[in-house]
């Protein structure tokens, strides 16, 4: 070192300890913003892709990738679920609906809330992104919640929009058929094929690599989110699910009332079968949730019992 910047020998002694050592798990406003922006950008990009992916339409049944669910699911698994969940659906609105000229007013708001809620619940269920099973489950939950809420809204529209909807013959069945089919295909394609499988592949690979790029500490399974957040997530999941079941139940009641009018035959079975797809999808979600809750309770118990 040359004379011009030689270490000074005068002055006060250097402070004994570093003046500032912040807890890396503490999320500053900038870090929150970063997670939000990243999640928004990536999901926006993913949606541009789904715009150009081909869709197969078989009558009312649309076999298409409604979104690449694995992208935001990976985000909520790796980062703080709230900010990632708030960012992702905005990405869809901004990048595709606004910039590509397809904005639809109130419907966007519905979509935003549905997906954000689904993602937040899903992210809160994951404690360790390295556990593929949990990540996959999160993807199914995220899509499931989003689509259940979507179904509730659609059915609600029929109730509000049609005069004395419950007395119109065939109406409930038609709507339920449509919703059931949409729900099952979405859960299969978006939730499983483009949700659970890729997310379970990507999340463990990105864990520990992507966080330092944002100056964040990786999510540490030993230091989970606050318990309150996790409990409220489960509570929300239960709430959404119950509302959905209640909605279906109300309609099934309509069906019961109308069974007498129906002529038994091929058509009814056909309709019923589709109905059962929707119901069984909901059942799958319920079972999954119960399993998840049990697994997490078990691991919590194990941790509590472990010596400190």
């Amino acid at each position: 070192m040359s004379s011009s910047t030689a270490p000074r020998t005068t002055g006060s002694p250097p402070p004994a300890a570093p003046r500032r050592s912040l807890d890396p798990t503490d999320l500053g406003s900038a870090q929150k913003l970063m997670v939000f922006v990243l999640s928004m950008t990536l999901f926006g990009l993913a949606n541009i892709l789904t715009e150009v992916l081909p869709e197969v339409k078989l009558g009312p049944v649309e076999l298409s990738v409604s979104y690449l669910a694995f992208v935001p699911v990976v985000m909520v698994c790796l980062f703080h679920p709230l900010y990632a969940a708030l960012g992702a659906p905005l990405g869809e609105i901004v990048f595709v609906d606004l910039l590509m000229g397809d904005f639809s007013g109130f419907a966007e708001l519905e979509g935003y809330i549905q997906l954000a809620l689904g993602l937040y619940i899903a992210g809160s269920l994951v404690r360790d992104p390295l556990r593929r099973g949990r990540v996959a489950l999160a993807a199914v939950v995220a899509v499931g919640v989003d689509k259940m809420l979507g179904g509730i809204v659609d059915i609600g529209k029929v109730y509000v929009g049609v005069a004395d909807a419950e007395y119109v013959e065939g109406l409930a069945e038609s709507v339920l058929l449509l919703e059931g089919v949409a729900f099952s295909t979405d859960l299969l394609i978006s939730g499983l094929l483009f949700g659970a499988l890729p997310a379970a592949y990507l999340a463990p690979r990105l864990h520990g690599r992507i966080e330092p790029l944002l100056g964040l500490a990786p999510r540490d399974p030993a230091r989970p989110l606050r318990l309150r957040a996790r409990i409220s997530a489960r509570f929300l999941l239960l709430g959404v699910f119950l509302t959905f079941v209640a909605m279906i139940a109300a309609f099934v009641e309509e069906l019961d009332a109308n069974f007498g009018v129906w002529e038994p035959g091929f058509i009814d079975q056909y309709g019923e079968r589709f109905l059962w797809i929707g119901v069984s999808a909901a059942l799958i979600v319920l079972v999954a949730v119960v399993l998840a809750a049990r697994a997490s309770a078990r691991s919590r118990a194990a941790r509590a019992g472990a010596p400190r």
Partner: protein, 584 residues
């Protein structure tokens, strides 16, 4: 928010600064003591990873406010302790232009972008500030354009204008040359010098290129291992050629030439000074070309002349362009005929947007020409899929992170041979890793490597494809000079494996030191196809293709050397007799 009060002390004072990023094993800054006076134009130099950028981020408070880590010591900017003011307040005093300035632009139009800061801070004179910043940089005419429509150089000026609109006392610019072509980088420097002179703004640039430092800066801060080595006036700093070279910053070529002529004493910093300096020492070029210089008129053996070595790839009557808003075509290549032959090292030059990357992509088959044909080893690129063509052509992108698809360097290198089920994959990958000297780091993600290692890793990816034709897009951009020389040496060593190498580049040192043939693109055509010496002798053409020749070549031209020398040694050799005569 009020305007900062005038301050009489130094612009920046740093004392005992130590900083470590969260989770990092070592300190990034270890004991920095430093003073930068107001009105200075300081260059921060040092090898990749010496802590330059981290240091500059302490000036505007991003460290430690934004990057929480272990921090001790003090940084005072215009007398204010940065730990006691927040980033927003500091941004009135310090502006920062990033190396990846494109990501710094957040608004759609230029005017919005420049007024973003003043509007956010609710400054009542935001309109005046915006106009002023745009005028200062001479980009008022771009005001209503969308930022993504601009060229890289214009984007850089917009980023700078956005920073200047806050009327800061200090502007930090991180590596302006890295992503710009030389003429545009020159423009950025001229504007910075103008701001520094007229407004008295203190300017700090992070720079690898000693030539820009020599021409525009007043003082030089050499960083190594997270601490300053020295901070000296520019002439004194650049005279320490040995020390600079040891830290990966070889001195400007005229300085090296001067040292070759005279080992001690003052040195010239620019081409103009060098002409005077040499004439004062009666050093003149030998009237007849010396032994090192090839004869002027007939092209040397390596120039393209039929019937030469076999053709590896050819473009015939190629036209290509892009769709515009109105559905029309913007032509990029109008009519290109080109034959690439075995054993050639071809440099493709031309300004941003001249069609260099388009030409390379046509050769990979990723794009096919809208008319005309592109052939690689005799196969029309239209007739096969790009994946099949990849057996013969490898294309390495400008930004290494775009090449890192897998989660380790090894996985990236073996992706191609493993996918094609090459029986000798393991041996091939081991050999490639060995050649690029990355065996020890093979299991790391490419992104975590240093700049030079990243380039070597991408070269390894190309090598493992064992192509006949290797295409590289800007392989030396944003590398410090030592790392760049390393990459050039590696390119040299590839000669035995690959039949023909094409490099698209702005780096005229690479052209001068490595290429055997230069193809200059402009106006959608091949404007010149010649050996480097002949290319650099054509001054009118250099302007047309927006090329700034290496200092030594420019000096040779100024001294009337025909053809101009390509390296310092060659120039010294052709001068030496005259110097000896003068001495005798």
């Amino acid at each position: 928010m009020t305007a900062p009060a005038p301050h009489t002390g130094p612009a920046v004072e740093v004392q005992d600064l130590v900083f470590r990023y969260p989770g990092a094993a070592d300190d990034s800054l270890r004991g920095v003591d430093l003073t930068i006076e107001q009105g200075d134009f300081t260059a921060v130099v040092g090898g990749n990873g010496s802590g330059k950028t981290t240091l500059c981020k302490t000036f505007n408070g991003l460290v430690p406010h934004f990057w929480s880590g272990t921090y001790s010591g003090t940084v005072r900017v215009f007398g204010q302790d940065t730990t006691e003011t927040d980033v927003a307040a500091l941004s009135h005093r310090v502006g920062y232009v990033y190396q990846d300035f494109g990501n710094q632009l957040v608004r759609p139009t230029v005017h919005d972008e420049v007024s973003f800061g003043p509007v956010n801070f609710g400054l009542p004179d935001w309109r005046a500030r915006t106009e002023e910043a745009l005028d200062t940089l001479g980009i008022a005419s771009l005001s209503d354009r969308y930022t993504w429509q601009l060229s890289g150089g214009q984007q850089h000026l917009v980023a700078l204008a956005g920073v200047l609109a806050m009327r800061p006392g200090l502007v930090v610019v991180d590596e302006p040359v890295a992503e710009l072509d030389p003429q545009r980088a020159e423009e950025v420097y001229r504007r910075l010098a103008d701001v520094n002179r007229r407004l008295g703004t203190t300017v700090v640039v992070i720079e690898h290129h000693a030539e820009f430092v020599a021409r525009y800066c007043r003082s030089v801060l050499l960083m190594a291992d997270g601490a300053p080595v020295w901070h000296l006036p520019v002439a004194e700093a650049l005279a320490r050629t040995g020390e600079l070279a040891a830290h990966g910053i070889p001195a400007p070529q005229v300085v090296r030439l001067a040292r070759a002529v005279e080992p001690e004493g003052e040195v010239p910093l620019t081409v103009g000074q060098a002409v005077g300096w040499l004439s004062a020492r009666a050093a003149r070029p030998v009237p007849d070309a010396g032994p090192a210089s090839p004869p002027e008129a007939p092209a040397p053996a390596n120039a393209p002349h039929p019937p030469g070595p076999p053709v590896v790839a050819a473009l015939r009557g190629v036209r290509h362009g892009y769709r515009t808003v109105h559905g029309g075509l913007t032509p990029v290549l109008r009519d290109v005929d080109l034959e690439l032959r075995e054993g050639e090292r071809i440099a493709l030059v031309g300004g941003n947007g001249a069609g260099k990357s388009t030409l390379l992509r046509l050769l990979t088959g990723l794009k096919v020409p809208r008319s005309g044909t592109a052939e690689v080893t005799g196969t029309d690129t239209r007739s096969v899929r790009p994946a099949e063509l990849a057996d013969r052509v490898a294309y390495l992108y400008q930004r290494p992170e775009q090449m890192f698809l897998a989660d380790s360097v090894r996985a990236d290198i073996e992706m191609y041979p493993r996918g094609r089920r090459r029986p000798d994959t393991d041996a091939l990958v081991a050999d490639v890793l060995d050649r690029i000297r990355l065996s020890a780091l093979a299991d790391r993600d490419g992104r975590t490597l240093s700049g030079g290692q990243q380039r070597r890793a991408t070269l390894g990816i190309g090598l493992a494809m064992t192509p006949a034709l290797l295409l590289l897009d800007e392989p030396t951009s944003s590398l410090d000079t030592a790392t760049r020389d390393d990459v050039i040496a590696m390119l040299d060593a590839l000669a035995d494996r690959i039949r023909c190498v094409v490099v698209a580049t702005h780096d005229m040192h690479l052209v001068a030191e490595w290429a055997t043939r230069v193809v200059a693109l402009g106006e959608g055509r091949v404007l010149k196809d010649a050996p480097p010496a002949e290319f650099f002798a054509d001054r009118e053409l250099l302007d047309r293709v927006r090329v700034v020749p290496p200092q030594i070549t420019a000096l040779g031209t100024a001294l009337g050397m025909v053809p101009p020398p390509l390296t310092v040694d060659e120039c010294a050799g052709r001068l030496s007799t005259a110097v000896q005569e003068a001495g005798a």
